[in-house]
Symmetry: C2
Subunit: 393 residues, 2 copies
């Protein structure tokens, strides 16, 4: 079975699309390989439209975004097929996470709520391929956090016979999965550790008036010095002190968080801004390391594997190594796939699970009432798009 996995994360970088081949009928005898991976970056205009719709849009803007994201996801799926030298007819299924526009974990007395946009019907219409989408919401409906969703995939694809691994993903937010050795029935541990690149990206964007949108090669962080007072204060955020399961998002650690901070400490010189980026990088590294020490280390950790955009930030990685020494901190390359592809591959695997009727949430990680088959299925059926159809934005 050939499956395209689609992911558009909270970083709003673009759409990741992986073509994954699965062989074998069940989880134990599964063999898999990534046949192609592409990232279709958002143009600045598209990124701004998504951001605007999320922070300021109403029903009309979100409705239009839903349709347009469907078009953009379809483009990315077709680009991945092309990179794999496959016609869309040769692909069996698409798994699409969608773009999270709002996510509220459950709180005392109130169930969670989550909204992913990116019209599955549009993806099916443009590609002709059936689509499984909206994975997160079933776990939320069952009382869970709706996150993290990848631990089931992590165990399926990345557990090792002889090692206890922490897989640390650093996207817009950061999340970890602790994996027992393969075959060990211990429950998984998986939760969001807090911000990933989101705060760093926001600070660099504000520092440069939008000319730069992330800390390339960690250079801003390297030029600055961590402000221990500010770091200590930021680490007092209640999220870091909650026990897992827990999840978070840009509504907590996003641009408004950094804007409020900037208003208060009023950086003026380049050096002030570099100090801010260094401090936010340290916040990300320290909150990840604290989470690993508190919750994973008691179960044993033989290695930490870092994936996601954060794996390309040497300043962040160096801080994380310093924090966790002597535990080896490995680059996601060791997983045998492009680390950027990991989340897209995960949604291909989750779509594979859906059509096989395999529950893929991990209740001990999300807090859901029980295992559930995630996602909803939209039939394929090729058709030529009417000639007049344009894509706004």
């Amino acid at each position: 079975m050939r499956v395209v996995g689609l992911m558009s994360g909270t970083s709003l970088d673009g759409v990741d699309a992986a073509v994954v081949e699965f062989e074998g009928a069940d989880e134990r005898e599964l063999r898999w390989g990534v046949r192609a991976f592409v990232t279709v970056p958002y143009t600045a205009e598209r990124r701004e439209r998504i951001h605007e719709a999320i922070v300021a849009g109403g029903a009309a803007a979100l409705c239009r975004l839903h349709a347009d994201l469907g078009e953009w996801f379809a483009e990315a799926a077709l680009a991945a097929c092309e990179a794999a030298a496959l016609a869309p007819e040769e692909v069996d299924l698409i798994g699409s996470h969608g773009q999270t526009v709002w996510h509220e974990p459950p709180e005392a007395g109130r169930r969670g709520a989550t909204l992913q946009l990116g019209c599955a019907a549009t993806i099916a219409e443009r590609t002709g391929i059936p689509v499984v989408s909206d994975f997160r919401v079933r776990d939320v409906a069952a009382g869970g956090e709706g996150a993290p969703l990848v631990p089931w995939v992590d165990r399926l694809l990345f557990s090792l016979p002889d090692r206890r691994r922490v897989l640390q993903n650093i996207g817009g937010m950061a999340n970890l999965t602790w994996l027992p050795p393969r075959g060990d029935p211990s429950p998984l541990l998986a939760f969001d550790t807090g911000p990933g690149n989101a705060l760093i990206d926001a600070a660099v964007t504000l520092a440069t008036g939008g000319r730069e949108t992330y800390d390339r090669d960690g250079e801003w962080a390297r030029r600055g010095q961590v402000r221990p007072d500010l770091l200590a204060e930021l680490l007092s955020h209640p999220f870091f002190h909650r026990a897992p399961p827990k999840s978070t998002g840009r509504e907590v650690f996003g641009r408004p968080f950094v804007e409020a901070l900037v208003e208060r400490i009023a950086p003026t010189t380049d050096r002030d801004w570099a100090d801010l980026v260094a401090t936010l990088t340290a916040l990300t590294a320290r909150s990840i390391a604290d989470a690993i020490r508190r919750y994973a280390l008691p179960r044993g950790v033989d290695e930490v594997v870092v994936t996601g955009g954060g794996a390309r930030n040497p300043a962040l990685l160096a801080m994380l190594e310093g924090e966790l020494s002597p535990i080896p901190v490995l680059h996601g390359d060791v997983l045998g796939l492009d680390p950027d592809a990991k989340e897209a591959v995960a949604f291909a695997a989750l779509a594979w699970a859906h059509v096989r009727g395999i529950p893929a949430n991990i209740p001990e990680a999300t807090g859901a009432a029980g295992p559930r088959v995630l996602g909803c299925f939209t039939p394929g059926g090729r058709s030529r798009a009417p000639a007049f159809i344009g894509i706004s934005g």
Copy 2:
């Protein structure tokens, strides 16, 4: 196969839920019957929340509404099961239209977009029954108006061997289906004629400061006099002069439309308000009659059957009879089911079509590029909701 159909229309009256039994494997040999029908009215608070989220809500409010509507739809589905003396385990499927929060038909150079909320995963979680939802969006993705969706159902359930029928539904908006005699391969005609009860409801609500929300028994309209100048002006709205296929919604004919009108004509006395309601009732009747005369009559019309909330407004029905005489205008009772149940029954039939892989849009009515299987499928799987789960609102 037992299917619950769920509908929550633009009137925001409540959730209609019908339990429908289907026998037979395909369209030609289908037999069907309605086993139960209930309407679970929205409380004033819920209605206002939906309205507020639609007109003024952002991502957070719409995300929460999505989850809560899912809970409310599940309540209605369970109420319908109870009314049918069935345990949820004895029901095979739910078809849910969802609550439309925004709908933009295609315009030159730009595809349409539509957003229905009402979390299918929540309905599946609370009932344990599989759910087919999001019917409208696939037709829109295929270049169609996404409306009307019921003509396929109308032909399936209500065409007669020897008569050409217009089925005129008057909900928040009004839409018609012209049906050739059963077995006649003529294409259907189906489109939105314009406002249904939405403008009348808004005027009564404004006139009474919210104490009344609709024109009970048409009494406001009967007390007032139609203002011919105002009626002529309102009939000049471009929507009425577009040829089908066409669809509309509250973003065109909704509360803001009436608010703007009220600001301009400034009704002060009870009589002024009654005249306004009478004029808006005439607008609804005339726009329906004009549409029938222009587009259906050339194909032959033996009878007009009125369904939806508008069938309970005698002032509106009398005006419509006057306009269409001598064509018989029949109450929806002749269809052999509670006319209020018709739309809920339609979504049960559309869910039935989905699981059989039958395309159910009518391209000649919607303008879509071709026939499509509508909807997406969310697996069931019963579970007890965690005890802490409350429903906000």
